[in-house]
């Protein structure tokens, strides 16, 4: 029997695990969190049961079906609180895993091998810096979403949602459903860009009609709750004494540069900002997978990466939302298990429709270069090491440095505890670095998760069963 390891139990990983088991493989499904569902279906833990949690979700019935079938499948082993911190592909595919509560010392270390592996670790928000974004009260939009769904927390009473992309809509809805007043959704893309990305050839989106209904639902919700949706606008500053008290909104030109004289101020205690998503590339890079020029894992129509036995699905292959993640997961799991291509039914067609959605999100909402003009010299760029824009610029200019590595070493930007996950791509674009070679990129980091030195000492050297 083939053994397939699936890393990440979001929509992509859940679909992959089930498809692999349906195709006759034995499966181990791992997630660092203590529940299944990933970011999309992030939910309250079993210690906090409720009768109508489905109200917070789209496609909740689909999730319950997936979760139920995975729970009943004898051939699927589920390991939660299982942090994969390294992957080796030299001989067999091996994942190094720590089992136990987040960041606890003395977690059980295991090395899991498999015939094939499906990587589905998802993505995290990308937030562009702006003056005052380091203040308490500024959150990534994903944080507001995760806290509303997974904790029933509203991050503020009067909240502003801003950035770019369709994701801002569900965030605003979750915030209102958690009791916050959402003062507006400020989308950087201007109406022309939105139309260019979303309107042409609408039939191409038919395969993702369900996503269309979901988005239409959010718009109806926001109309009903009088949440204004304002395209061509951005939060260009957050102000306050020790925490956010007000935000400055400005109109943007087509390149996302603020239009002088259009600033207005809103009293708010929370700002939730996301300008897109960054794929979590540590594991695929560690596995040796080729990363494409778009900085996603390169896969073929079977979701195969450039490394034998390593498949990838979900947001690490492109930002296409839940439908793309599900269908890519199905294909990846099926093929990783050795399943026949002819048995995949409508999956390939749906994968193409999902890819169309990915292209449209990028065309309509992709980051435009003018945003840097809302920075000031004292705007923190690297949050961990508190490196301001002025210092970064001065060092890059004085040393004529465009190499990310040397600017990092001189300024310490990107060398803090988050290991450049938050600021890496921003620093690259501010100094004009060229990450395309793959060597000088902020995506590369030695470990996928922090490991305590004491735990490293006690790690097994041979894989389980060897």
């Amino acid at each position: 029997m083939r053994h397939v390891l699936v890393i990440g139990a979001g929509p992509a990983g859940l679909a992959a695990a089930l498809a692999a088991s349906d195709a006759g493989a034995s499966v181990t499904l791992l997630d660092a969190g203590d529940g299944l569902g990933g970011q999309y279906w992030r939910h309250l833990p079993p210690q906090r049961p409720s009768r109508r949690e489905s109200r917070l979700h789209h496609g909740w019935a689909a999730f319950e079906r997936l979760q139920g079938r995975i729970g009943r499948a004898d051939a699927i082993e589920v390991l939660t609180e299982a942090q994969v911190w390294a992957i080796e592909t030299a001989d067999a595919v091996t994942a190094q895993v720590l089992l136990g509560p987040t960041d606890a010392a003395g977690r059980e270390a295991r090395a899991l091998t498999a015939d094939a592996i499906v990587l589905a670790p998802g993505a995290h928000d990308r937030t562009l810096p702006f003056p005052g974004w380091h203040l308490p009260g500024v959150f990534s939009a994903g944080a507001a979403q995760a806290l509303a769904k997974g904790e029933r927390i509203a991050v503020g009473r009067r909240a502003v949602v801003a950035g770019a992309g369709p994701f801002l809509l569900p965030v605003a809805q979750s915030l209102t459903a958690a009791g916050a007043t959402v003062l507006g959704v400020f989308e950087a893309a201007r109406p022309r860009a939105l139309a260019r990305g979303w309107l042409p050839k609408p039939w191409k989106l038919l395969g993702t009609a369900h996503k269309g209904r979901e988005l239409a639902g959010y718009l109806a919700h926001h109309l009903a709750h009088r949440v204004p949706y304002r395209p061509g606008r951005a939060v260009v500053e957050a102000r306050g004494d020790g925490r956010v008290e007000e935000v400055v909104i400005a109109r943007l030109d087509a390149d996302w540069a603020p239009v002088p004289g259009t600033e207005r101020t809103l009293a708010a205690d929370a700002v939730c900002v996301s300008h897109g998503f960054t794929p979590r590339l540590e594991l695929p890079i560690a596995a040796g997978c080729e990363i494409g020029p778009d900085r996603f894992v390169r896969v073929d129509p079977d979701q195969r990466t450039s490394v034998e036995g390593v498949y990838a699905a979900g947001e690490i292959t492109g930002i296409g939302g839940v439908d793309a993640a599900l269908v890519e997961g199905r294909i990846a799991g099926h093929r990783a298990a050795g399943g026949d291509r002819s048995a995949m039914g409508s999956a390939p067609r749906r994968a193409r429709a999902a890819a169309e959605l990915t292209r449209r999100i990028e065309a309509a909402h992709g980051i435009r270069p003018g945003w840097t003009s809302w920075l000031r010299d004292d705007t923190v760029v690297c949050r961990c090491e508190e490196v301001p824009y002025g210092r970064l610029r001065a060092v890059a200019a004085a040393t004529e440095q465009r190499s990310l590595r040397s600017v990092k070493l001189t300024t310490r930007a990107g060398l803090g505890i988050c290991q450049a996950r938050m600021c890496g791509r921003t620093v690259e674009s501010l100094i004009g670095a060229d990450p395309s070679s793959g060597a000088d990129t902020s995506d590369r980091r030695p470990l996928a998760a922090p490991v305590r030195l004491g735990d490293l000492a006690g790690l097994p050297t041979a894989p389980d069963g060897a």
Partner: protein, 109 residues
Amino acid sequence: MSAIVPWESDPIRPAEPRPLRISVDGAPVEGLRGQSIAGVLLARGETAWRTTVAGRRRGVFCGIGVCFECVATVNGESDVRLCLRRVQDGDVVETRDDTAQDDTVEDRS
């Protein structure tokens, strides 16, 4: 200010939550079973609990364990991401103040 949806009026109709107690910097703090430690603090309206070298206050930023801004010491173990760590009754949380001393601080602005 952050706040938790009161369970009695939450439309998802939760079961009555079960309380627990932890200590944060020596003071007793009430939480609910199933919260993350960050969730316990945010439910009390606390949005910042760490102080950076430059003296800035920080709390949750990304909410999913990638930014590491919400870290604190839990039961003696440093650098635990509070947004991911499920709270246990009796947890001992110590927040972190990294503010540099005036005479040693380099110019960070």
